[in-house]
């Protein structure tokens, strides 16, 4: 009996926190579903729409090029993830498993980059990107983020847990370093690659500051940029802003809900490994 009461109490507590965490989104969804005849500013506020309607979603799609922004976001996030995983795992391999001059210096230099805030770099990086002709390009949005100290560190940790004998026997079979990296080691560190992929994806998908600086062509806007512009345009019609926000949330929500165990497992692993 006591454990039953305890359970009820726990579920109650869990539910209250859930309301706090997703309540703002539910409130937004309710607004997006309210019809034009309903006063959305009425007091006391009404949570449930009187005549739920999807017209706001249709209307906002006319002015909010969702598919275009989604496409841009997908390209930017995918390119960032692929290049980041590639460059970090390439760099991590010799740092973990080879002896060469300057190894420690290079590793320390890479780790040092963690201490430099992007907000200090954004001005020169902007000027450099302009000179390289990267304004309003996918590469411009992607390149500054495709090697991260976190990624190199994570992959180096993963590689250094594998036994040295693997490299040696592969080398005796005639494999060169690149083949060892690609065929032997990479398949064995898949869990770390998944962790890095998810971390990089979430940060690239949600990135706002850098795209805001480097992109001014609306055709190149990612979802956050497009949505920010939308909320500036329709300050008077909150139904449309709400509908746009809900639409732009759907892709990441679908990805998150279908891969949630990797998301949460990856975050836990990232935390434990530093």
């Amino acid at each position: 009996m006591q454990s039953f009461i305890k359970k009820v109490f726990l579920y109650l507590l869990l539910s209250v926190v859930t309301l706090f965490m997703i309540g703002p989104f539910l409130w937004l969804l309710a607004t997006a579903l309210k019809s034009g005849s309903e006063n959305i500013f009425q007091y006391p506020p009404k949570l449930l729409p009187e005549n739920p309607t999807l017209t706001n979603f249709g209307k906002v799609m006319d002015t909010f090029p969702f598919w275009r922004y989604l496409w841009n976001s997908v390209i930017v996030a995918t390119l960032t993830v692929v290049l980041n995983v590639l460059f970090c795992s390439l760099a991590a391999y010799p740092l973990a498993r080879m002896r060469f001059k300057g190894r420690n210096t290079i590793f320390i230099l890479i780790i040092t980059t963690m201490m430099i805030p992007f907000q200090l770099l954004m001005i020169p990086v902007y000027i450099i990107s302009l000179k390289l002709g990267l304004q309003n390009t996918y590469l411009g949005m992607v390149l500054p983020h495709v090697t991260t100290a976190f990624g190199v560190f994570l992959m180096r940790q993963a590689f250094s847990t594998l036994p040295v004998e693997l490299d040696e026997s592969a080398r005796m079979d005639g494999a060169n370093s690149f083949q060892i990296w690609l065929r032997v080691l990479i398949p064995l560190v898949k869990p770390s690659i998944v962790t890095l992929t998810i971390f990089t994806f979430v940060s690239a998908w949600g990135d706002f500051l850098w795209p805001l600086i480097i992109v001014n062509d609306q055709n190149m806007f990612t979802l956050p940029l497009g949505l920010n512009m939308l909320s500036g345009t329709f300050t008077s019609d909150w139904r449309l802003i709400a509908a746009g926000a809900i639409i732009s949330m759907i892709p990441i929500l679908v990805i998150f809900l279908s891969l949630q165990r990797f998301f949460i497992g990856g975050a836990m692993k990232g935390a434990v490994k530093g």
Partner: protein, 288 residues
């Protein structure tokens, strides 16, 4: 191991080119630019320490610095402490607990623009928050959360905390799950009660994670930008303007690149402190 002499460098090349071009070189350039007057149109002009002198005489700079410190002292403790409770809560063996873990993590994966819009709507004068405080009898008239100089900064802080809770909760959850269960079993045999187990086992074993979260959330709080930009635009009357917001507007609205770089150098020096602690900590972990 026998390898070609240049092989390791070839593996390192792509990553190092990126870090060189987009971190090390810009870093030096930012420091150099902080000693110049540069507006992107005319050539940069060397002005020695003028930018720094002007910064220290700029009331708005001090205001944004103060706001950034306020952010640190309010947001960091909240992000260090509240997620511990959440982690304990979702560490229970209950049916459907995975659902709650995911629900708490949703704000983490949502972009700050969506989060900003959602909270904007909650904060409206006749919005949900004022209504709830009203029925609870806490306020007698609605508060204009985002448009009052007294509340705007704190209202945005709530969003920062809300968005970070799930992430740090997961870090603590990893911490909780790394505590060997035989510690608790042994304590039970020795007759320790629940409270003793919490204070003698859970909290001490969780301390390294408390440290990680303190450092990570401090660095994040120093760099707050998006939520300010989206929700208040730094207003009203600069009351919610933080250092990064100041750097952004000086650089990209007013094109004072040199001056903004000087403010960036100050931000760098401030974050350096937390980062060095962070590195020391990671270095330790590395030797394991």
């Amino acid at each position: 191991m026998r390898t070609n002499k240049i092989t390791p460098y070839l593996f390192l090349l792509p990553g190092c080119i990126i870090l060189g071009a987009f971190i090390f070189y810009p870093m030096l350039q930012a420091i150099w630019m902080s000693f110049t007057d540069y507006n992107m149109i005319t050539e940069p002009e060397f002005v020695k320490l003028d930018n720094y002198k002007n910064l220290f005489n700029d009331e708005l700079f001090w205001k944004t610095l103060m706001n950034t410190f306020l952010y640190l002292i309010c947001v960091v403790p909240a992000l260090v402490i509240i997620p511990i409770f959440l982690a304990v809560l979702v560490n229970q063996k209950l049916r459907g607990i995975a659902f709650f873990r995911s629900a708490y993590y949703i704000p983490v994966v949502t972009s700050l623009v969506v989060a900003g819009i959602a909270w904007d709507w909650v904060y409206k004068e006749n919005g949900l928050l004022n209504y709830m405080l009203d029925i609870l009898g806490i306020i007698s008239e609605p508060i204009p959360w985002l448009t009052s100089t007294d509340t705007a900064l704190f209202a945005v802080m709530v969003v920062t905390v809300w968005k970070g809770l799930g992430y740090y909760m997961i870090i603590y959850l990893a911490g909780l799950q790394s505590i060997p269960s035989n510690l608790y079993e042994a304590a039970q045999i020795d007759g320790a009660n629940w409270w003793q187990q919490v204070t003698r086992i859970t909290i001490p074993m969780l301390m390294p994670f408390v440290l990680i979260v303190s450092i990570m959330s401090s660095i994040a709080a120093m760099k707050v930008f998006e939520e300010i930009y989206v929700m208040t635009g730094g207003g009203p009357l600069h009351s919610s303007e933080t250092l990064v917001f100041y750097i952004y507007t000086e650089a990209f609205d007013r094109l004072n690149m040199g001056y903004a770089s000087a403010a960036g150098v100050i931000l760098f020096l401030l974050t350096l402190v937390f980062s060095i602690i962070n590195l020391k900590f990671m270095g330790k972990d590395n030797t394991k």
